[in-house]
Symmetry: C2
Subunit: 344 residues, 2 copies
């Protein structure tokens, strides 16, 4: 059973997982991109029995092997779905048993198409599956947060080439998210405005960091980008909860997201990248905390961060939490705006 451990100095929870490599010799050779051909790929059609049990799928009811999107449990889960949450002190440390969910969303039957290479309808199907999984897991009162993320390319941490996203539901609110939630909440308490709406207004007024904008969504390179060509995608209209999006808004997001990923791929010669969805934590959980009244519907604004992995994180970043970005976001945005990228 994995466990969660808390560091009292760095104030950070860590998942100690024992399902993956553990002995020194297993690290000796850096593990590259695995399963690069269809014959051995567990996510390719016809290999459905090679994955853990299916959790959901968009498939033809008359022909279940003709699926478009498929969700399975992660074969090497960082957290386990079974069991109650147990918290305990270990001397001055804190531990929790590693309860959570860890799922894989296989985005397409096509082994060698990145998300951005699919037709808009197929991208929209992936985004609908994200919504479906979030709604399902938000019912589970053990989970504080549901993070959906995507690793593309070995340098971005992908261990399988076949296009897929992952979902991890955690029994604590992850630190990055809780800092963002606190900023948003304090800004709202002071100004009765959403901090993201304010940022979007400043970016739209200034224009220099805007990458793309349509009727529903905007993408910009953040003012204090940690990484070169980092982008943030958000709805123009205030909206806290990704899971509340209707099919029309998801279709429009699919079109927008596909465009900005295509711009990034064309600018940077198909770089490894991560993307992360920061939606609101479950409202009903927040409002059960003693002495806490949540304004999250007003103060939070869901967004997607896209992080190309072009530079290595070194000692300075690990030791300081302070990033050195060699590309001003104004330059990055100009490249991304002006690049020629393949349309359909």
């Amino acid at each position: 059973m994995p466990e969660l451990r808390h560091d009292p100095v760095q104030r950070r929870w860590v998942i100690i997982s024992t399902e993956r490599a553990s002995r020194p010799q297993e690290f000796a050779v850096e593990r590259g991109q695995g399963a690069t051909d269809r014959d051995t790929c567990p996510f390719c059609p016809g290999h459905e029995e090679a994955t853990p049990p299916q959790i959901g799928a968009f498939a033809d009811p008359d022909n279940p092997s003709a699926w478009k999107v498929r969700v399975v449990a992660n074969k090497f889960p960082a957290l386990r779905i079974e069991g109650d949450l147990e918290r305990a002190a270990v001397g001055q440390y804190d531990r929790m048993n590693g309860v959570g969910a860890h799922e894989v969303i296989v985005e397409t039957p096509h082994h060698d198409k990145d998300l951005a290479d699919l037709p808009v309808e197929d991208v929209a199907a992936v985004l609908r599956m994200y919504r479906e999984r979030i709604i399902d897991l938000q019912r589970d009162m053990r989970f504080r947060y549901i993070l959906i993320f995507r690793n593309r390319g070995a340098a971005a941490g992908a261990s399988l080439e076949h296009p897929h996203s992952q979902l991890i539901a955690t029994p604590i609110t992850p630190r990055t998210v809780s800092v963002e939630l606190q900023s948003a909440r304090e800004h709202y308490a002071l100004k009765e405005r959403c901090i993201f709406c304010d940022i979007i207004a400043q970016e739209l007024g200034n224009q220099s960091r805007i990458v793309a904008k349509d009727a529903d969504y905007v993408t910009w390179c953040p003012y204090a980008s940690r990484f070169p060509f980092e982008m943030c995608v958000a709805p123009l209209r205030h909206d806290a909860d990704y899971a509340s999006l209707d099919d029309g808004r998801l279709f429009s997001l699919a079109r927008h997201l596909r465009e900005v990923i295509r711009r990034m791929k064309a600018s940077l010669n198909d770089p490894p990248y991560n993307f992360l969805l920061h939606t609101a934590p479950s409202y009903h959980l927040l409002n059960r905390r003693p002495g806490y009244w949540s304004t999250i519907e007003m103060d939070w604004h869901w967004h997607i961060e896209i992080l190309p992995r072009l530079v290595k994180t070194a000692g300075f970043e690990w030791g300081s939490g302070f990033y050195i970005n060699p590309t001003p976001p104004e330059d990055a945005a100009r490249f991304l705006r002006e690049v020629r990228f393949p349309a359909d």
Copy 2:
């Protein structure tokens, strides 16, 4: 001129540097380990003119090219030493000009010896140079923190193979350090004890995570290690300030540090790694903050973090600030304790 920018949501400062790669094509090929042979290495003896001006050296006064340790300005500095600190608002964002110091400590004239391969006296000379540079830069009231770190191996962010450390002095306290400082301060306020002394006492009582211990120093794998085989080195006797160490204590640190790095290299087949020195911020600066009274001499305990780079950081870690470590630190410590490693 580089600049510091603050993200109001993530509450994080970022250095936007324009001295390094910036245009997309410069990222197209991942930059590997540069200058791998002595003929082109700027840090090898005889190539002193290939580096920026020398800041300090331990050298024979009669033969300055016979140096043992040499400090030069970084050729591509993340921050610039010239100028006053200027702070300004940019709409709702904050900026500061990028004033700071960025130095390179060339540890040895030998191109192909890692720090842990040197005689103890030579390791001690490197540690004395750290002390000398910290004492010198602490006089500069513009700097809040001085971080010394070391990147070894391309996967750990080293762009040159010749053994070297780096120093960055920053006009803000980096976030990782300020979280640690806050934890230490609050623990002291509550208990009138140092949090690190408490942790060391628990680790010595439990023994399962201890890697090495001698009369002056102890190394353990932290209870909530983020990375496999992560280690923390600290003095057994309470001490806030690395810069106050005398030559005897530095010699004893050199012996201890060399041993634990040798243990790591033997266990993990010479892995890429980072190490980071977390010493106290300058006392005189802390006590100038309005309304702030520092207990730092009592609450802080300097330490060195050693981070082997065996696993890639992926979307989950970036999106959550929450790490998955596949190796329980008890297992790591047992391997590190039991491994046979080359003595002199």
